[in-house]
Amino acid sequence: MPLRLLSFAVFLATWWIGSLILGDAKLPAPPAVLAVATAEAKSGALFLHLGATLARVTLAFVLAMTLGSALGYLMGRVRLADRLGDPWLILLLNLPALVVIVLAYIWAGLTEVAAIAAIAINKLPTAVVTLREGARALDPALDEMAVAFAMPRARAFRHVVLPQLVPYIAAAARSGLSLVWKIVLVAELLGRPNGVGFEIGVAFQLFDIPRLLTYSLSFAAVVLLIETALVQPFELRLSRWRLRAA
């Protein structure tokens, strides 16, 4: 914990020194940003926009993780599924996020559904790829054990297969969350009337840097909070059977 505080202090110090060198117009000092943040928080706008973005992130993330994990597992285990799915996977992996978002807005209108679907489609292929690797790395020796002891499929999946996939699911979730966070802003910038991305778009047009920093840093703080309060304890719980590295 002291180390984390120290690294936060280093961050603040660097920012402050940077603002002294570059000047307030390009990089406002921390107190200026804090004042804007307080005002935005008091009016409730900050929480409204953060909430809207967070809701989109949650929905798109859950959608992509569920669908992506299922598809990846299937492709890792069934050869035919892998052969059929692979070209689509390569296409989706390399399709720029911007193309997906613009097409989604054109085809489905400037709607919430279009935004969430576009974000989910961007995250989907990375989840598929990671889970496919996980399914390929499953230990056949443990599968045999489950078969020899006639474990019912559901029990074998929960106790034999799923724990082996956990590190891959965690990796997909970790990289996926950061990807979704980046893309959601683009989707909001292009076609939503609220959310952090929309606010940043407005701040860009007005060249309002304190507001821009307020919204980006608030969301970074939310992401950090989710990571430390939810994701990391969850990973720790799932991997408690591993011996601690010395």
Binding site: A141, L142, E144, V147, M151, R155, H159, P163, W241
Partner: protein, 236 residues
């Protein structure tokens, strides 16, 4: 309950595309209450045969008929425990029907009581092997398969575990198949010994031990071992 085995052959193709014969003709049957022991040089295809008999490998020529409702308890060469489940959960997951009294008796017999809540990563190999044994016995098997359960343990521990296995098999109406390359295991535990040839494996000789397991003395062991070691026999 009876196991009838008539394997005509088993081959596999390796990554380089070469075909290898692992098993030649293997033909025997085993009744409930009998312990059959396969003794053979390492790499002769014993484990492959056990996998066929356990129904894990269906890609072979010939026939294996075992009662379809037979519960299988298997001890693999490596313990094959779930590293993310405690010792107790490992056993319970394989044997959901076993009640607490039965589990307790097994854990006491195998001296695992103190390790119930440990994870497999915290156990020595000897302990992990005992957990694998507990798991196999907890399912109340009709057909017990032991694939070198004592390999790579030190002598004293192997001897103790051997006695524990003997106690566990005695008095249970179970068909048992044990694979080993250790003659001590074979003469202490087996009722019928099948000596296998090098790869592709076939049964070169069958030895029946008529003295009941509990009544065998040191002299009996030595006599049977001397008989097994008679020159020329194994090569026939």
């Amino acid at each position: 309950m009876q196991l009838d085995v008539d394997i005509a052959g088993k081959a596999f193709t390796n990554a380089a595309g070469e075909r290898h014969d692992v098993l030649a003709r293997v033909n025997f049957s085993l009744h409930a209450g009998e312990v059959g022991v396969f003794v053979g040089p390492s790499g002769c295809g014993k484990s492959t045969m056990l996998r066929i008999l356990a129904g894990l490998d269906r890609d072979f020529q010939g026939q294996v008929s075992r009662p379809s409702q037979a519960r299988i308890g298997m001890v693999f060469q490596e313990p094959r425990l779930l590293p993310w489940r405690s010792v107790e959960d490992n056993v319970r997951l394989a044997a959901p029907l076993a009640d607490e009294a039965k589990l307790k008796a097994l854990f006491v017999e195998l001296e695992l009581q103190a390790h119930r809540s440990h994870f497999p990563g915290e156990l020595s190999l000897g302990l992990a092997r005992r957990v694998a044994l507990a798991r196999a016995f907890a399912v109340d098997p009709d057909f017990l398969i032991l694939d070198e359960p004592l390999a790579s343990l030190d002598h004293a521990l192997a001897a103790r575990l051997r006695e524990q296995i003997a106690d566990l098999v005695t008095g249970r109406p179970v068909m048992t198949l044990l694979v080993t390359h250790d003659l001590d295991d074979a003469v202490r535990l087996g009722d019928r010994l099948f000596l296998l040839s090098p790869r592709p494996a076939r049964i070169v000789r069958e030895v029946r031990i008529s003295t009941p397991r509990t009544a065998r003395s040191k002299a009996d062991f030595d006599r049977i071992k001397a008989d097994l070691a008679r020159p020329g026999i194994a090569e026939r």
